[in-house]
Amino acid sequence: MWQYEKKLQYPVKIKEPNPALAKIIVSQLGGPDGELGAALRYLDQRYSAPTREVQAILNDIGTEELSHMEMIGTILYQLTRDLSIKEIKESGFDTYFVDHTTAVYPIAASGVPFSAEYFQSKGDPLTDLHEDLAAEQKARTTYDNILRLTDDPDVRDPIKFLREREIVHYQRFGEALRLTQDMLDSRNFYAFNPSFDK
């Protein structure tokens, strides 16, 4: 279970609303490589992980992803405060506004709602950990792209923090993969699935 802490993992204080930017950043909440998909991927995969170390890394990175969802939600909330109807229309935010007003809702930047099709929980630790490594790189690229699209330092600062976390998580998943391979037969890693075959 979890205990909530009334604080963000890293500060978010955005002075200037920017609904057009919110429409892009929402992808890191509900898009194909977003934080919601990351949290669900790791928190679902952890049950069938082969060792305590791999269970722990999936559990603890999955937990951190929940705090990243909260940071993205906060960025979206602060970017869409105090908007006039004129600003909503001119920024192109009207297509989001019509369905969600200024609430936070998990969709991709394209408007496609969040889907569990964005991730896999395969029950084979080599397969799952390779997916996790790729997922961290995909999220890192998305953050790189967001950084190309904004020069507001109040937004760039927390986005840079989140980007860096993808790199640290990639490192830890690489170690989890090595630990998993070390317990398998090095002549044929695929001889059996340690999460299924006894």
Partner: protein
């Protein structure tokens, strides 16, 4: 960054200590016998506990288990962290 209030400075210290713990936690998950890592985790945990208690006393609860007193449920008297002006 703009001038920070005393409250914001204290929150930033908590976020730093808490982040150091999170980093150590993930590192120790894959290096569970690293003594230096365990020591690092412990050092930041002690600091973090102290700072959180100070914050709860001065500005508001961080977790509901910091509740004291019988008259008012203090959880609802301080802002949630997505609110822009924490002060």
């Amino acid at each position: 960054m703009a001038m920070l209030s005393e409250k914001e400075k204290l929150m930033l210290k908590i976020q730093s200590a808490s982040f150091a713990m999170k980093e150590a936690e993930l590192f120790l998950d894959t290096h569970p016998t690293c003594r230096e890592g365990i020591e690092y985790f412990k050092k930041h945990k002690e600091l973090c506990d102290k700072l959180k208690a100070e914050y709860a006393e001065k500005y508001g609860l961080i977790t509901t288990d910091q509740q004291t007193g019988e008259k008012k449920w203090n959880w609802v008297t301080s802002p949630f962290p997505w609110e822009r002006s924490i002060d």
